[in-house]
């Protein structure tokens, strides 16, 4: 809400300038998002009295002579459709500045001198949304009786010399959504008395309450008060009223509507005015809407009502969507003479849902949903009636019709001074605390350490001792609190073991030269289950923002392929990414999350290589990187099995198994995928993805040191000719089995297939390293082992050994 600094002065003595006040309020109560001063940047805008106005034939222009308080009237050529003689208007003189820092200069229009410009409100900085409809497409005309003379600056008369404090309230501080509420808050903050006056009203018409029966469901509307006024003359509101509305961001409409809005701004109590002809059957009811009922709102939006909408009816048809907006069928019209005024308390939750459901939030609905002051029902109603007597010549009929009148007990909160001090970390005395509550105008009762606070209805946010802590803390000043560290028993900070493991993997990969990526967890349905060996039921959100972000990923590689595509499109093709994050599924009827890590490589092993050592990244490079990861983690018993994984190259992909259990896969991203993604066409992307939870089960516990071997090792080379289909892994397994325990290392030293070999054959060469940790190995023993290996290979794998 925009709170007028000048209006605030009606309630509180303000000795602090607006910006300093805003800072104080921000630190103590409600954030002031901005202090607006509408006159900022404007210059030489004065009132002018149009003496003559001649329409120029064949144009839309008018030649006007305008009294701007100088000796002679000045000539202004004006194109506005509503300019006419005898109007009081806004004149931008020669040298003036208007909105947008635009400068106005004397000039010639159609050969005629124009000494300035007659302005519309938008031209001097008003938002289109607050300009009265009749001035929206033309110039502004001061209402008759406005207290302004030709030549006088317009800022004061239009409320533009004011400072408007934008109260950016949190939901609990809706009490400041009114001038009175804001005044109480400001008074407490700056420690000044607050002058909020009661309304005393004497009806001057006959009693009316027997002419209407109001049947009100008190659960929907705990309070529902009506008054009737007659003899209303619908006109434009006086300028003082209009300025207060538009400075608060509300468009002036006519005196009746404006009065209801004004009373809402003043008291926080939303109001409604009905044309009394609406209730010609003498009936009114407040109930839930029936299925298929419809209502056209004042903004001409036709809504189909929901059985959870509260409506006010004329005994039959809905005439108002309660707390949100009136119906067109009960609107106060230019010819309305009798008006029924309503102040009520509606169920906040139902109003909020109505406003949301019909996408029709209003000043009124936002107040009902956040809560309103139950004590203001009568006052607001009387205030509105009084204003209509003053501004619309209304006669106030005697009596208030109360369709419901639920009473609320004042809230009292009990606490102790020691509790307040303990939570705040302060040593405030009883007197200090009581003084703070006095500033808030809260009644207190003190009995030694006990404190009982009676909370006025205007502060419905306060219910429990913690709320009192806040009131004391903020008024005492958060700036005045000490800055301390908790003095607690010692705790040991740190990570759980699995968290440590994940961070270790991340650091290692980063050290290996991979760049950390961060992708979205939500992806498309199709991508969510790519790169996944065992696809599970997906976790899918009900109302996705779009279909490409609708399902929680079951793999990380998708995000990295997206990242590759993004970078390739920008000619960045040398990539080494890793991402550590979760995958999500809905297996076995529950939602599961798994910590994974994935990598993606493209381009070359070396970057920017002028030596033309252009080793491209390939399967074996990436596998080497992965093997180093496994080595550093101390994992053993790892097996790679050629495997098909959706999204991966069918003959260049392996499943990774640790001690027989699947932990992930490694390979090349499939052509099918890279060919359909334009930037990735013809690229080779390699990568792997691991389930870190699975892996963590096989981590060694702790290292038991043993001395470095005292005896030398012995190496032998072995060349094996096998069928091409035979995997290295099977050959190595056979060698290991036959070579016995002294074989400590087995490496592939050459792979050859080609011209010099028989078709369908390949040659694999290995180096075998033998070591006996307790004695020197003899040649004889090693020869014996080599012979055993040869026999095993020949018999089991039909290999020939050279």
């Amino acid at each position: 809400m925009l709170v007028s600094y000048n209006w605030l002065k009606d309630f509180v003595k303000l000795e602090v300038e607006p910006h300093a006040l805003a800072e104080k309020i921000t630190r103590t109560g409600v954030e002031i998002a901005e202090v607006k001063h509408p006159a900022t940047g404007l210059k030489k805008l004065v009132a002018g009295h149009v003496l003559t106005c001649v329409k120029l034939e064949g144009t839309h222009l008018h030649q006007c002579m305008v009294d701007v308080g100088e000796v002679d009237p000045i000539q202004i050529v004006c194109g506005a459709p509503n300019v006419a003689a005898d109007e009081m208007v806004i004149v931008a003189l020669h040298g003036a500045r208007i909105a947008g820092n635009e400068k106005i200069k004397r000039g010639k229009i159609r050969g005629m001198v124009s000494n300035g410009m007659i302005c519309g409100l938008q031209e001097i900085g008003f938002s289109d949304s607050v300009v009265p409809m009749k001035y929206r497409d033309g110039i502004f005309i001061f209402p008759e009786g406005s207290d302004i003379q030709p030549g006088e600056d317009v800022y004061h008369a239009l409320g533009m010399d004011d400072y408007l404090l934008d109260f950016d309230i949190t939901p609990n501080r809706a009490d400041t959504l009114s001038m009175e509420g804001a005044a109480y808050e400001v008074g407490a903050i700056i420690d000044q008395p607050v002058k909020v006056e009661p309304v005393s009203l004497k009806a001057d018409g006959p009693a009316w309450t027997s002419t209407l029966t109001a049947e009100v469901d008190a659960k929907l509307a705990p309070k529902f008060y009506l008054r009737k006024v007659t003899g209303v003359k619908i006109t434009e509101s006086p300028l003082w009223l209009q300025t207060r509305l538009w400075n608060a961001g509300i468009r002036p409409v006519n005196n009746v509507v404006d009065v209801t809005n004004y009373v809402m701004l003043l008291t926080g109590q939303p109001m409604h005015a009905y044309d009394a002809r609406t209730f010609k059957t003498g009936k009114l009811s407040v109930r839930l809407a029936k299925p298929d009922e419809t209502l056209t709102l004042l903004n001409e939006k036709k809504v189909v009502l929901d059985p959870a909408d509260i409506v006010i009816t004329d005994g039959d048809q809905p005439v108002m969507l309660a707390g949100v907006m009136g119906g067109l069928n009960s609107e106060v019209m230019p010819d309305s003479h009798e008006v029924i005024l309503e102040t009520a308390v509606f169920d906040g939750t139902l109003v909020r849902k109505s406003a949301l459901r019909h996408a029709n939030r209003t000043e009124a609905s936002s107040r009902f949903e956040k809560g309103i002051n139950w004590d203001n029902t009568q006052k607001a109603l009387d205030m509105a009636a009084l204003l209509l007597r003053n501004e619309a010549g209304a006669t106030i009929l005697d009596g208030v019709l109360k369709g419901s009148d639920t009473k609320r007990k004042p809230v009292t909160v009990k606490t102790t001074f020691s509790y307040l001090n303990k939570v705040l970390g302060t040593t405030l005395t009883t007197d200090q605390v009581v003084t703070l509550f006095n500033r808030l105008k809260f009644e207190t009762q003190v009995a030694r350490d006990q404190l009982t606070v009676t909370v006025p209805a205007r502060r419905w946010d306060i219910m429990i001792p913690a709320d009192l802590v806040e009131e004391v803390g903020r008024l005492y000043g958060y700036d005045n609190l000490k800055s301390t560290q908790p003095l607690l028993a010692e705790t040991q900070g740190g990570y759980a073991n699995f968290e440590l493991f994940m961070r270790h993997v991340k650091h290692f990969l980063q050290g290996q030269g991979l760049m950390e990526a961060l992708s979205y967890s939500l992806t498309s349905k199709a991508r969510a289950t790519l790169f996944t060996k065992a696809v599970q039921p997906v976790a899918e959100v009900k109302m996705p923002l779009n279909s490409s972000r609708s399902v929680m990923r079951q793999n990380l590689l998708t995000g990295l392929v997206d990242a590759a595509s993004y970078n390739f499109a920008r000619k960045e093709t040398e990539l080494a990414f890793f991402e550590q994050g979760r995958t999500y599924d809905h297996a076995d009827g529950q939602f599961n999350e798994h910590e994974h890590v994935a990598t993606l490589y493209s381009g070359h092993v070396y970057r920017n290589n002028w030596e033309h050592d252009e080793a491209p990244v390939d399967f074996y490079f990436v596998k080497g990187q992965l093997e180093n990861l496994f080595t550093t983690l101390g994992l053993t018993g790892i097996e790679y099995r050629a495997e098909k994984i959706t999204g991966m190259h069918p003959t260049r992909t392996a499943g990774i198994y640790v001690q027989g259990d699947y932990v992930g896969f490694i390979g090349m991203v499939s052509h099918t995928l890279t060919q359909t993604e334009k930037p990735l066409r013809n690229s080779e992307l390699y990568g792997y993805e691991l389930d870190l939870e699975q892996l963590s089960h096989y981590l060694p516990t702790s290292t038991q040191a043993k001395p470095a071997p005292k005896f030398p090792a012995m190496s032998r080379d072995l060349s094996v000719l096998v069928d091409q289909a035979q995997s290295n892994q099977s050959v190595m397994a056979a060698i290991r089995q036959a070579a016995g325990n002294y074989l400590v290392k087995l490496s592939v030293i050459d792979v050859y297939q080609g011209d010099h070999l028989a078709a369908g054959k390949k040659s694999l060469a290995y180096q075998l390293t033998f070591l006996n940790e307790n004695a020197t190995l003899t040649d004889d023993l090693v020869n014996e082992k080599m012979a055993a290996v040869t026999t095993a290979l020949e018999t089991n794998l039909q290999a020939s050994v050279r």
Binding site: P486, A539, V541, R607
Partner: protein, 349 residues
Amino acid sequence: MDLLEKLDQLRARGLEKINAAADTQKLNDVRVELVGKKGALTEILHAMREVAPERRRQVGQLVNEVRDLFNEQLAQTRHDLAQALIAQKLEAEKIDVTLPGKRLSLGAKHPVYLILDDLEALFIGLGYQVVQGPEIETDHYCFEMMNLPKDHPARDMQETFYIDNENLLRSQTSGDQARVLEKHDFSQGPLKMVGPGKVYRRDDDDATHSHQFMQMEGLVVDRNVSMSDLKGTLEMIAKHLFGADRKTRLRPSYFPFTEPSVEMDVSCFNCDGKGCSICKETGWIEVLGAGMVHPNVLENAGIDASIYGGFAFGLGLDRFAILKYGVDDIRDFYTNDVRFLAQFRQEEK
């Protein structure tokens, strides 16, 4: 010719030849020719018979002198030749040390994780446990346990991705608080935890909104934890992240799970508090929300709020990264453009 004259000539000629030898091969030839078994000096010695006996001694001495001279000179030249050869070889091996090195790819930490790791280290040092909870959270833990019952208006403030009526993508890490509070055994000491992780909101992605981002939740609960402790902790976080010279202020705010609730602002980095477009002319930039744990949250987790109390804070890691590194579009954190990511390497500490 007199033998002595011959010797003189040989000396002169010999030295000339030694000096003229261009390589070790030629030098060896010269050596053989001069001092070899059948060389010139030997020849002169053979001619000694022609010399008068009383002069033989003198001539013999002279021959020895010339031999020594030759050997010395040969050694010197051999050394020089060897040196020249090494120099030549080294010259041939010369490389341009100003050419660039052969580089493997260089790793980098993601900027949001830079912030995360930095904060984790800070909190671990202060005795906080790092705890992670599920991202697919139940309505119960994400909202109800956090004092946000079904019809609470604050639920509209954060549009949530629901999976079904009970399960959702967490819109805040606060659910971790509830889970930890339920489990904590206060007889084992105070509760101090931080919970980092991803959160999700139904916001369309633009420069300042992201449907996914990272938060870190903090929670300290014990018998004597005060708002002054909260203030001190928050100021430490702000100064750690944004510099000791930043001014801070606490403002009252509202969160359903804390009471009182506050937000912390730091003085604008850009204008140092004078007011500019980045801080919307206020001189302050909002960095975090916090408060004293709402008694309902404690009671919901079965903790006696009349005995125990504490504070909680929520840190937006993406927002911190945006502020600290001057990033102007939050989407830059999620597109993984290597040119963007590479620039944060130097931030690692």
